[in-house]
Amino acid sequence: MTPALELQGLSVSLGGREVVSNVSGAVQPGSFVAVCGLNGSGKTTLLRGALGLLPKASGEARLFGRDPHALKPAERASLVGYLAQERRIAWGVSAQAVVELGALTAPPDEARERASKALAHVGLTDLADRSVFSLSGGERARVLLARLLASRAPLLVLDEPIAGLDPDAQLMTLELLKAQASAGVAVVATLHDLLLCERFADFVVVLDRGRPAAWAPPCDALTPALLAECFNLDAEWVGSSRGQFLSAKRLR
């Protein structure tokens, strides 16, 4: 099966400085891959480089076997739905209008239908006509998720999708993404919460100052040794009847 996203020694530079170095790995359709690392470790740059939104310094990125830089904008939009870290919405347009942007290249009737279904999927049908400025942070996050669902792209890439959300909204978001993965969509998301990485992700990519420290299932990636090396944590996983918990304190 062609991987949804494949990286072969990908390096990405920003302002002449190499921010991501030599990352290799593949994301298969139906899998949920979490990317984690400290602030400034290169997570966002890796995502943007992988999607062809930044020029690569060296190596290769492939979206469903194709060079993202060679894709036309509409082709890329049909393959990838991307949630950027910047969530500001400039105008007080309706929730429906925001979600329709996920299907911007589709005919208007189809875009409307896809947006309505996506809003129903995240439980916001009643708020479709409301201005996004009148929605709560959690509701707005669901609208932006619905925008990704309306794209119907087989690969969803999300930069910190649960940042700033309350625990319930965090779990709702990750459950929705997990369900998408179960339905065959490839999901890549940057996450800071290691516990949620362990619970939801099939694979975890750990970046340490731009270099890949791990690309493996959570139990193999998030070892006490790696948590000490990359996250400055004296940590261990503790098993319980409700799953694994992380017991951690700062090393220094």
Partner: protein, 328 residues
């Protein structure tokens, strides 16, 4: 109200406003003279209505439409409710072109000042296009526009400084104050063509403005060729602004105010806003010109002065409301 109903309403108001602009004026006409003007357009009252007032009202409408369209385009492009055709310096460059032409004596050549203003606008727009191709971020474009506007302003001051003739200086000042007085059907044609072109380009760029609602980075992934469409939007705004300055001089704040008047009615959609904004700009300027003509003052109020007097407090109000929303 849907967009179609809003546009119909604005068109109806515009027709009434232009009719008022044609029929009302400083020189009062009797009912018999109006009848004569309609029956015999070449009669003296007919000349007043169809050769003086009508082209003036239509030029005001077209210039207002140019400014309203530019404002809608630039606010959508820069995602900034305070953007205005003047912000990016195109108006200042056009005015500089006109000033240089007046000092150099081109005012004696028919259309010389208008052509020079258009050249100034095209040069300013060209610089913006070249800059935005290299640095596409809206903040960078605003900063460059402010710098361009300041530099053109400084060159304008230099022209004033070095101007050999007080008559030329007075003429430049008159241009800077903006007016549609004594405009002819030739001026109508001079602004109608560029406005039509800017409208066509706006249709192409509209979806890009809608995509930009979610920010530059997200817009780049929604399936549109954003660099090309943003360039088209800048070109459309430059053409429309240049044409308006070329024909009517510098008229501020209409480009700022027009989009705000219709934004709520189009549910803040920056793509659907463009044509209602152009129509609102047309209505605003026809009404402003009418007010400037019929308000009794010793000297006729200059249109640019009048719009600035009304527009500057509006600008402050919008800034105040925006600042309040940033705090919440």
């Amino acid at each position: 109200m849907n967009r179609f109903a809003l546009e119909l309403l604005l068109i109806a108001i515009l027709i009434v406003a232009i009719a008022a602009g044609v029929t009302l004026g400083e020189a009062p006409l009797s009912v018999a003279q109006y009848a004569q003007a309609f029956a015999h357009p070449s009669s003296a009252p007919g000349e007043v209505l169809w050769s003086i007032r009508a082209p003036r009202a239509v030029v005001a409408a077209l210039v207002g439409a140019c400014l309203g369209l530019s404002g809608g385009l630039l606010q959508g492009l820069l995602r900034n409710p305070l953007a205005d055709p003047g912000v990016l310096g195109v108006s200042a460059c056009a005015a500089l072109g006109a000033a240089v032409a007046i000092v150099a004596g081109f005012a004696l050549i028919p259309g010389g000042v208008i052509a020079a203003a258009l050249v100034g606008a095209v040069v300013g727009g060209g610089l913006l296009v070249a800059f935005s191709a290299r640095f596409p971020e809206p903040e960078a474009l605003i900063l460059f526009g402010v710098a361009l506007s300041s530099f053109a302003g400084a060159l304008m001051a230099l022209v004033f400084n070095l101007s050999p003739s007080p008559i030329a200086t007075a003429e430049i000042l008159s241009w800077l104050m903006g007016s549609v007085e004594n405009r002819s059907w030739t001026d109508v044609a001079a602004v109608a063509g560029p406005l039509a072109l800017a409208c066509v380009l706006s249709v192409l760029a509209a979806r890009a403005l809608r995509a930009l609602t979610l920010g530059e980075e997200t817009a780049a992934t929604l399936g549109l060729d954003m660099p090309r469409l943003k360039l088209i939007a800048v070109i459309a705004a430059s053409i429309a602004t240049g044409a308006s300055v070329a024909v009517a001089g510098v008229i501020g704040f209409v480009g700022l105010a027009a989009p705000h008047l219709v934004r709520a009615a189009v549910r803040e959609d920056p793509a659907r806003l463009l044509f209602p904004s152009a129509l609102a700009g047309a209505v605003l300027l026809v009404l402003a010109d009418l007010a400037a003509r019929i308000i009794p003052t010793e000297q006729e109020l200059r249109l640019g002065v009048f719009t600035a007097l009304v527009g500057a407090p509006l600008f402050a109000l919008i800034a105040w409301r925006a600042a309040r929303s940033w705090r919440t």
